[in-house]
């Protein structure tokens, strides 16, 4: 048992470290460190421009998406090298938030299903951040039940004509391309009538509207499709095979390892270490300590769980299922930590914003953003189902709509 790099890993790390030290936009380091949950803003510059510039610089030196093949803009780094790169990129990795969906989901789906000339055309600018991609899956009627989606694609000559609505699309308003799952046959059971495409987000008939969230911010969008035409050449996978294609996308989402999920614990620890209560520092209070200790071991448990996964990668193995607990643990914790931090502030906990609230309002912002963490990218309940079924081997849910033609499934509860 040790935490040491192998000689090859150490060499890769040294190369990455040196390049980052020489090239990273250090003028934003402090701001990025302090950036809280949700969309990052910079005081002095447009985040989109800074992020694109950093990504382009990385691309020119072959660091854009290190684990991709060279022809598509990567350097064929191994899974463990990918983790080492993330560790070294550190706080500057936050600038990659805009590209996560494109690099983590759209790119791998294109790699698996697009034609070779399309890959060579679309993937390098996706890698370099010159093009931003989004993923058009969720719908008002299909959240956890993605396959319940209703956006129609109908064949018309060499094109498909798209009508419908997507929701919760991150970054649609600044995306150049998207991958889109549609229903091409409503007369067969829901998983069988789906087809995947990619499209230019500037196509006529695509309308993007930001969603004002419960916390007042707008990180996501609704996307409306009105008679949008997509050439059949932009179909990914066979007609009716969209569900399997989407599984490729989603599996890639879950392969992201070593990414630090925010738990709120370091912030709470620091807060309690400085907060004066009536009879002394909060951290000296028995009740506070008990809460802190329970959260501390959840945070450290997540950290060392990711170390176990990294060790498996380093040995050239696939990480085990234990990595699936990350967001489930972190999401609930974030919400609980924020609630408790406000409780410690007493009546003044109600104040928000950088000027009047304790700790520059970070816990109030965390409180209001955290419900989304427990929903986005798989709700707590879906994640528990995944653990129960895929890790523990328990039976899948009984699906009453499994063999029913999609257009015969009821659409209203009452």
């Amino acid at each position: 048992m040790n935490f040491d790099d192998t000689p090859q890993e150490a060499a890769f790390r040294a190369e990455a470290k040196a390049w980052i030290a020489a090239n990273a936009p250090k003028q934003y380091e402090d701001e990025l460190k302090k950036a809280s949950l949700g969309r990052i803003q910079l005081r002095s510059a447009n985040i989109l421009e800074v992020a694109k510039a950093w990504q382009k610089k990385k691309a020119d030196a072959g660091w854009a998406v290190p684990h991709w093949p060279k022809d598509y803009g990567g350097r064929r780094a191994s899974p463990i090298e990918r983790v080492i790169w993330q560790q070294e990129e550190g706080v500057f990795g936050k600038l990659g938030a805009l590209f996560i969906i494109g690099h983590g989901m759209c790119g791998p789906t294109m790699m698996a299903y697009a034609a070779e000339d399309q890959k060579r055309h679309y993937l390098p600018p996706l890698a370099s951040g010159e093009n931003i991609w989004c993923q058009l899956f969720s719908e008002p009627a299909g959240g956890s039940d993605v396959a319940g989606l209703r956006t129609r694609a109908e064949k018309d000559g060499a094109d498909w004509v798209i009508n419908g609505q997507k929701i919760w699309t991150s970054g649609a308003h600044y995306s150049d391309y998207g991958i889109l799952i549609t229903r091409t046959d409503p007369t067969v059971p829901k998983h069988k009538g789906l087809t995947m495409f990619f499209l230019d987000m500037k196509s006529p008939g695509v309308e993007v509207k930001p969603i004002k969230q419960a916390n007042g911010q707008a990180e996501f969008n609704e996307v409306y499709f009105t008679d949008v035409r997509i050439p059949d050449a932009q179909r990914l996978g066979a007609v009716g095979d969209g569900w399997n294609v989407s599984l490729t996308t989603l599996m890639n989402e879950r392969m992201a390892i070593g990414a630090n999920v925010a738990t709120g614990f370091p912030e709470l620890f620091e807060f309690c270490n400085n907060l004066m209560l009536e009879d002394g520092l909060a951290i000296d209070d028995r009740a506070v300590r008990s809460k802190l200790a329970s959260w501390a071991v959840r945070a450290s448990g997540l950290k060392y769980t990711s170390f176990r996964a990294i060790s498996a990668l380093s040995r050239g193995e696939r990480p085990g299922p234990e990595n699936s607990i990350g967001k489930l643990v972190a999401g609930a914790m974030l919400q609980d930590v924020a609630t408790y931090a406000l409780d410690l502030q007493g009546a003044a906990g109600v104040l928000s914003g950088p000027d009047d609230a304790e700790a520059a309002g970070k816990f109030q912002a965390m409180l209001l953003r955290s419900p989304a963490t427990r929903v986005e990218g798989g709700t707590d309940e879906i994640l528990r189902n995944i653990i129960a079924e895929r890790v523990l081997g328990l039976p899948g849910d009984i699906r009453v709509d499994k063999d029913v033609p999609f257009n015969k499934i009821p659409t209203k509860g009452r």
Partner: protein, 376 residues
Amino acid sequence: MNFDFSDDQKQLRDEARRFLTEKCPPKAVREVIDGKATYDRELWKGLADMGFLGVAIPEAFGGSGAGHLELCVIAEEMGRALAPVPFSSTVYLAAEALMLAGSDAQKQKWLPAIASGAAVGTLALFEGSGNPSPGAIKLTASNGTLNGIKKPVPDGAVADFAIVAARTASTGRETDISLFLVDLTSEGVEAKALTNIDPSRGQAEISFKNVKAELLGPANEGWSILTRVLDRAAVLIAFEQVGGADRALEMGRDYALDRIAFGRQIGSFQAVKHMLADMYVSATLARSNCYYGAWALSTNASELPEAAAAARISATQAFQHCAKNNIQVHGGMGFTWEFDCHLYYRRSNALALGLGSLSYWEDALIDRMRQRNAAA
């Protein structure tokens, strides 16, 4: 990074599991629970023959000198099997204290006897309610003579010797405490078995009346030695807890697959699936914290005190969580004497207390995190 046990260590774990599956089935645990034996002497002999008792004891003192990572994997299996033997008292507490602070003569006398299974040892720390603290120790030692009462003492009624925490001064400081090594066959020692929530492991009251004892380690340094012994034992017991948690989770999972109600496997109901998924989460977090504790223990890292407290808290929570919800998954059958669920429930709650309860370790963890924070 190689944050995992080696192939050899994993093989040792498999070997221990095979051995315990055969020699320590639930029936063996029940023999002790039902009061037919104070502990499983045949199993104890077998553990000695397998080399498990002396796995972390140096060869010079009769052990195999393999190390603490090896002891961790064995501990996990001992916890999983609920082994009804005085393993933790003898190996994690007494042997660790001897190895940390014993004189050469003391080590020569007791460590080979531990490794061979000839001697059972324990740590006599507590004196009634309360968590480990120097102020709670009233038993006195003057001129090498002990007077006082210790309870609960784990495996105290079957132990051959004990490390006893005694008061050698009354200044109100940690240095008031010294450790003594006592042969429990000495005159003036009286041990009485006490009933407890987990009868598969004994608890006792031991009274000391003018008992002659020898110092273990330097006088007045007892508390600092003891703190280190507790940290080391915390990691090892945490592995027992993780082993127990995993087994309780498996039992719940297996029952959820077998049991039919409302015309379907109960494991197909989300209420049951989600309960089991949460048990898996607890057990996984605990295992990962324990691995870090194992690393710190095996390398004598300066991080050990913090790592031990984290492993202890996480594993305590996980075993209690898995053991109680295993009963819940089993429903009424889980509350019968016949089903094994209560054996894990009992053990999970006994292990949660033996080294000091959660609040002691929560305090320890936060103190240690603050120290690191201040140093950084």
